[in-house]
């Protein structure tokens, strides 16, 4: 990518920040997510969320979803923190804030489709990491949720160029990042990275956003990038893609990401991939409902 393109991306991403719709709690929340659990105070999270009634209400609705499997539904944010755990509440909040961070408007990519994919990927990342003893589940969830942030940037700041890419991807039934590269010369990975860096997201999440289509380029967080890469592919194969048919076959075990993940997590070998795939289908309907609850 030339310096020129990089400069254009930076300049247009800069303009996104001036948009009004980002909830006030969003950026402080992201900062909290970057710090360790010990440093975060429950009261602080509760206080932050209480600023914004809409976010608080949405957060409770999401926490009550069967996806989080609570026997008793929380009545307050504090209740949710206690029964779900702080990290999980943070990720739920992030989900809700993100929905409001970008205003409705001209989207080349159907927002419902985008959120289903992002939320689906977040969930698959978490389910995947549940099978791996040493993986950080909520980190995986956050990384999955944010991995395609660049598509939001594209819809906002490169809407004409991105519509051409989207149209080509649908017509030729090819992966969206390939169509982006062919028509725009850059992908959502670069635009996503620019916004993620502006927002000061954690380094490993930035790595995921920047390299989930080219893991070998990742320097710092390879196993996490590999986990998101594989979850992203799986989502696209099981009805949580970008809303069109991709002529694509996926051989998970011979994907380079598999070897990277296996090196870090030897228990990956024991994962029953077929069953994991079938179980994933169980979640698809749930995700559709959740997306219409949160973003509808």
């Amino acid at each position: 990518m030339t310096a020129n393109v990089t400069a254009t991306i930076r300049e247009r991403v800069q303009r996104i920040e001036t948009m009004p719709a980002i909830p006030a709690v969003f950026l402080p929340l992201l900062k909290m997510l970057a710090s360790s659990t010990e440093e975060v105070r429950v009261d602080e999270v509760v206080r932050l969320v209480s600023y914004d009634n809409a976010i608080a209400a949405q957060c409770l609705r999401v926490a009550s979803s069967p996806l989080f499997g609570l026997a008793q539904l929380p009545q307050s944010i504090k209740g949710a923190v206690i029964s779900l755990g702080l990290r999980r509440v943070e990720t739920i909040l992030l989900t809700c804030c993100l929905g409001q961070a970008f205003p409705a408007g001209k989207w080349s990519l159907d927002p419902d489709v985008f959120w289903r994919h992002s939320l689906g990927c977040a969930l698959v990342c978490r389910k995947f990491s549940e099978k791996l003893a040493a993986a950080d589940r909520e980190k995986a969830y956050t990384a999955g949720l944010l991995h395609d942030l660049g598509f939001m940037v594209n819809c906002q700041a490169f809407s004409e160029e991105f519509s051409v890419a989207m149209e080509r991807a649908c017509r030729e039934e090819i992966p969206l990042h390939q169509a982006e590269l062919a028509t725009m010369g850059f992908t959502h990975c670069e635009t996503g990275r620019a916004l993620a860096e502006k927002w000061g997201l954690a380094d490993d999440v930035v790595e995921v956003i920047a390299h989930h289509h080219a893991i070998e380029q990742s320097q710092k967080a390879q196993p996490l990038v590999a986990l998101v890469h594989l979850s992203d592919l799986l989502c696209r194969m099981r009805g949580l893609g970008y809303g069109y048919y991709e002529r694509h076959k996926l051989n998970l075990i011979s994907d380079p990401a598999w070897a990277i993940l296996l090196k870090e997590h030897c228990d990956l070998e024991g994962v029953d991939l077929v069953r994991f795939t079938f179980e994933l289908d169980d979640a698809v309907e749930e995700i559709r409902t959740l997306v219409s609850t949160v973003f509808g």
């Binding site: 039934e173 592919l233 799986l234 696209r236 194969m237 099981r238 009805g239 893609g241 048919y245 991709e246 002529r247 694509h248 076959k249 996926l250 051989n251 998970l252 075990i253 011979s254 029953d272 991939l273 077929v274 069953r275 795939t277 079938f278 179980e279 289908d281 169980d282 309907e285």
Partner: protein
């Protein structure tokens, strides 16, 4: 005088929605998966519950928990498990049963095989529908291949072998006459192009479609018959393996592996899987479906 509560057996009504599912059905689902590789997703769990309800009526068991004992603890539980597998796979036969499978076949696999085999002198595609029952699957495959006749498969010879253990099924398959139920997923386009009306309710497959297919009786457990089915590019074997016990199943699957060309694909039913029956096949995901791949020679060591 008090009357004892009525405990006489009453037939169970079929379960219609996923909400009514008793947790025991999830245990049964796991058992079915362990034994057969068939997995009923949460939204299809009511189908499993329905199948159980029909078996429970037969056995006069009153609760799912009691039926669980029939499946696991009581004498003859293996036979009962087979009865249940029969129940849950029944009625899955129709033309165009799995569109994602057909999409994977036409959009991803065919271009790949055609590119690979174009390097060779013979332009021949060999497909085997193993356990073809009454012919819905081989006819669906034949029609889809005919659709590619003027495109991808121009200049190619397509051979489809359709076999079943049951003579009567093979005869029905040969006749190629189907009613509404079997045709429920068949679009008007395909009905007009490849069928003629037999009477008001039934359609018959055109001879041009039949010409692609060789029907015959074959026992998948017969080693010499299996050895005969060589050089296949694609094998479809949907909801058949459930009828075999562990050892025969793995023998049959190993045969299939040998019957396939390098780079060939093996398809099972939509909720079926190979589990640990063969570790030489690679699991491949396509949009909405999975298949097993015999690595091409260059990949064989992977």
């Amino acid at each position: 005088m008090t009357v004892a509560p009525q405990t006489a057996f009453a037939p169970r009504a079929p379960i219609k929605s996923a909400e009514a599912v008793d947790p025991v059905y999830r245990q049964i689902r796991d058992l079915v998966y362990r034994v057969s590789g068939i997995y009923k997703a949460e939204e299809k769990l009511y189908l499993l519950a329905d199948g159980c309800a029909r078996r429970m009526n037969q056995l006069r068991s009153r609760t799912p928990r009691e039926y669980w004992d029939h499946l696991t603890a009581q004498p003859g539980h293996n036979g009962e498990l087979r009865n249940l597998l029969n129940e849950i796979t029944i009625g899955e036969t129709c033309l165009f049963r799995s569109q994602p499978q057909l999409d994977a076949l036409r959009k991803v696999i065919l271009p790949e095989i055609v590119a690979e085999k174009s390097k060779q002198t013979t332009r021949r595609l060999r497909i085997w529908s193993a356990g073809c029952s009454t012919g819905e699957e081989p006819y669906t495959l034949a029609m889809n291949m005919l659709e590619e006749n003027e495109k991808l498969l121009k200049g190619w010879t397509v051979e489809i072998f359709a076999t079943d253990l049951n003579d009567r099924s093979v005869d029905t398959a040969k006749a190629g006459i189907y009613g509404d139920y079997a045709l429920r997923n068949t679009t008007t386009y395909f009905k007009h192009k490849y069928f003629s009306a037999v009477d008001e309710k039934k359609l018959q497959v055109h001879p041009a479609v039949k010409k692609l297919i060789t029907f015959r009786r074959l026992n998948l457990q017969n080693d010499s018959e299996m050895l005969f089915m060589k050089a296949m590019d694609l094998i479809f074997c949907c909801n058949v393996l459930i009828y075999f016990d562990g050892a025969s199943k793995s023998k049959v699957v190993n045969h299939f592996f040998k019957n396939l060309n390098f780079g060939g694909y093996f398809f099972l039913g939509t909720s079926e899987s190979l589990m640990n029956l063969n570790d030489q096949f690679h699991l491949i995901h396509f949009p909405g479906s999975i298949a097993y791949w015999k690595p091409s020679l260059s990949n064989a060591k992977l």
